[in-house]
């Protein structure tokens, strides 16, 4: 039996803690089911002082200190592993998640305190590591799906770990939410995504599927969707991320049973589905998956009273569980939205990104300005709130694409302050524009990692035509819908720079010639025929 300390790093420091870390809660549940001693120190929930962190690490003699998360947790993970090495020198220090999956050799180089990293999906790998620790074994070269240090302390990747099957996904334990300070999270249940989500008192998040079929150039899928591939280099194995896809989803019965369990045990009134894209899963099941979830939701008594009785939502008296998730403007259908509304869906997050067809052609999402607008209207008609996410600063962004967005916002009533286009590690943009990223950080990749946030602030600019100052100013004019000043600035821009450049369209054109058909086209075709990809 091993003693394990899970450390959840601080993420989005500027905001309140709102999301129990789903992956970490699953890993804790797996360790618990295997009979290990588990403690969780949730730094994101507690926002502790350094002294608190030290005390937690010194509270026992841990066999394993496990941490990790998405790339933007890098700064806190750096601190955590330093503290862990100093105050728990005998522990195996272990990092997982997108942070190390996206750039294993770089992270092992930046953080010499790390002993082991789990690359991609950790469900089976984590179990094998636990069993090795129990047996006192330290020959990590025999465990697939990890990066470990060889005798010279260099990072070595072992062969990849295959993703588990959908049947195995349904045999996973429920997340160990009870190990986390739920009072803190419940105090911050409110999310400003719909009226019901704003009034939520006890919200938890659920991941009902893994991955996404689409190939958005800015997206990183954490190695969970078939995207992660290994390549043999001159210095051993390395990772690369591709358009290969192996999307998986839980059985509707697993999902609804999990929500029922969360309601009965924790009294939840809202579920936020964290899935990358619920609609691609629905398309891949011939349109059956979401309706089955909705039917079961209602059958199992989770339908909110206000929906059942057709009355206004009152958080004091409403029973059942409202929910929200992610959608796709081209893949959504009115009849699916109607079913979702009946089951209590109150918002759907749309990565619309832009209303410029010229830009949308370079994204890989398979959407157009027309489908984006239709998706918004269809969702409003179903009385579900669409969350219209927008981005500014695409590689080929120019004044025409900015105008297209502002005009569409005017037509549809969208109120948005766009994200900045950000080349996160693991995304196609990261590899395509790595030289440009490094130029902006004087060649210091770690400085870029430390700078990364949730893309609401500007970091590395990949726009060919605009610099950071211009993007900040143009975003402000977009929010004000000030087309007059945008047009005036275009004249000034052209006087200085002449004609715009569109390097992303050129890059993708070359890639298409090399690779043949775009995977997105296949998915969209299957959505029309109902065939799985």
């Amino acid at each position: 039996m091993a003693k394990i300390l899970f450390l959840n790093p601080v993420v989005r420091e500027e905001d309140d803690p709102r999301h129990v870390p789903y992956g970490l809660a699953l890993m804790a549940a797996i360790a618990d089911r295997e009979g290990h001693d588990v403690q969780v120190f949730d730094a994101n929930a507690w926002r502790p002082s350094d002294e608190d962190l030290r005390e937690a690490i010194e509270a026992d003699r841990w066999d394993i200190v496990a941490t990790g998360g998405i790339t933007t947790t890098y700064g806190y993970v750096k601190k955590t592993v330093r503290f862990a090495r100093r105050y728990s020198p005998g522990a195996l220090i272990f990092v997982g998640g997108g942070l190390i999956t996206s750039m294993p050799h770089d992270v092992m180089g930046f953080l010499p305190e790390i002993d082991l990293g789990v690359i991609g999906e950790g469900f089976v790998t984590w179990l094998e590591i636990l069993r090795c620790v129990e047996r006192g074994e330290r020959d990590w070269s025999q465990v697939n799906g990890i990066i470990y240090r060889d005798a010279s302390r260099r990072g070595r990747l072992t062969p990849p770990r295959p993703l588990i099957s959908m049947e195995e996904l349904d045999r996973l334990p429920y997340p160990a939410w009870e190990f986390f300070p739920l009072d803190i999270y419940f105090r911050n249940s409110c999310v400003l995504l719909s009226e019901e989500a704003m009034q939520a008192k006890r919200r938890l998040d659920v991941n009902a599927s893994y991955g996404c079929s689409l190939i958005c150039r800015f997206c990183f899928h954490l190695g969970l969707t078939g995207d992660l591939q290994y390549v043999e280099g001159s210095d051993g194995l390395d990772v690369t991320f591709t358009h290969h896809r192996n999307i998986r989803w839980h059985n509707p019965r697993y999902i609804v049973s999990l929500v029922k369990y969360a309601k009965e045990r924790f009294g939840i009134d809202f579920i936020a589905f964290l899935d990358e894209n619920l609609m691609t899963m629905n398309v891949s099941t011939g349109g059956k998956w979401i309706p089955e979830i909705c039917d079961l939701w209602i059958k199992e008594g989770l339908q909110p009273r206000c929906v059942r009785e057709g009355i206004s939502h009152n958080p004091e008296t409403c029973d059942g569980v409202h929910w929200g998730g992610t959608s796709h403007a081209t893949l959504v259908r009115q009849e699916v939205l109607t079913r979702m509304k009946e089951a209590g869906c109150s918002y759907l997050d749309y990565g619309l990104e832009s209303f410029s067809d010229r830009i949308l052609k370079t994204i890989g999402k398979g959407a157009t300005a027309r489908t984006n607008e239709a998706g918004v209207r269809m969702t409003m008609e179903a009385r579900i709130r669409p969350i219209p996410n927008q981005i500014i600063g695409f590689p080929d962004e120019f004044f025409d694409s900015i105008r297209d967005c502002v005009e569409a916002w005017e037509r549809t009533g969208i109120v948005a302050k766009p994200f900045f286009a950000t080349p996160y590690p693991g995304s196609e943009w990261y590899y395509a524009y790595k030289d440009r990223i490094l130029e902006q950080y004087d060649g210091d990749l770690e400085a870029f990692l430390l700078d990364l946030g949730d893309a609401t602030k500007i970091t590395a600019v990949i726009s060919a035509n605009f610099n950071a100052v211009e993007l900040l100013g143009l975003r402000e004019l977009m929010i004000q819908r000030d087309l007059k000043r945008i047009n005036e600035y275009e004249k000034e821009w052209r006087r200085i720079h002449g004609e715009p450049r569109f390097p992303e369209a050129e890059r993708l054109s070359k890639l298409r010639d090399q690779r043949g058909r775009d995977a997105t086209v296949a998915l969209l075709r299957s959505s029309k025929t109902g065939d799985a990809e």
Binding site: L192, E195, M198, M380, R385, P388, N389, G413, V415, K417
Partner: protein, 67 residues
């Protein structure tokens, strides 16, 4: 009398006290709070028209639609 007017004579016409401001609906509260925190994933579609004048043509259009 309007509390916003100051001058060198007394206005004659008394204006009735304005009715109490109606309570904010949940939708209004949601849109107000989302607007205050606008950015990134906090974005929304406005359900009601704004009060900003958008030119006579736009106003006529809105009147025709609402009428």
């Amino acid at each position: 009398m309007s509390k916003y007017l100051k001058g060198n004579y007394q206005l004659m016409k008394e204006k009735p006290e304005p009715a109490a401001k109606p309570e904010e609906t949940v939708t209004e509260e949601f849109e107000r709070r989302a607007l205050e925190r606008l950015g990134g994933s906090i974005a929304f579609v406005m359900k009601r028209n704004t009060f900003v004048w958008r030119g006579d043509k736009a106003g006529e259009q809105e009147n025709r639609e609402s009428g």
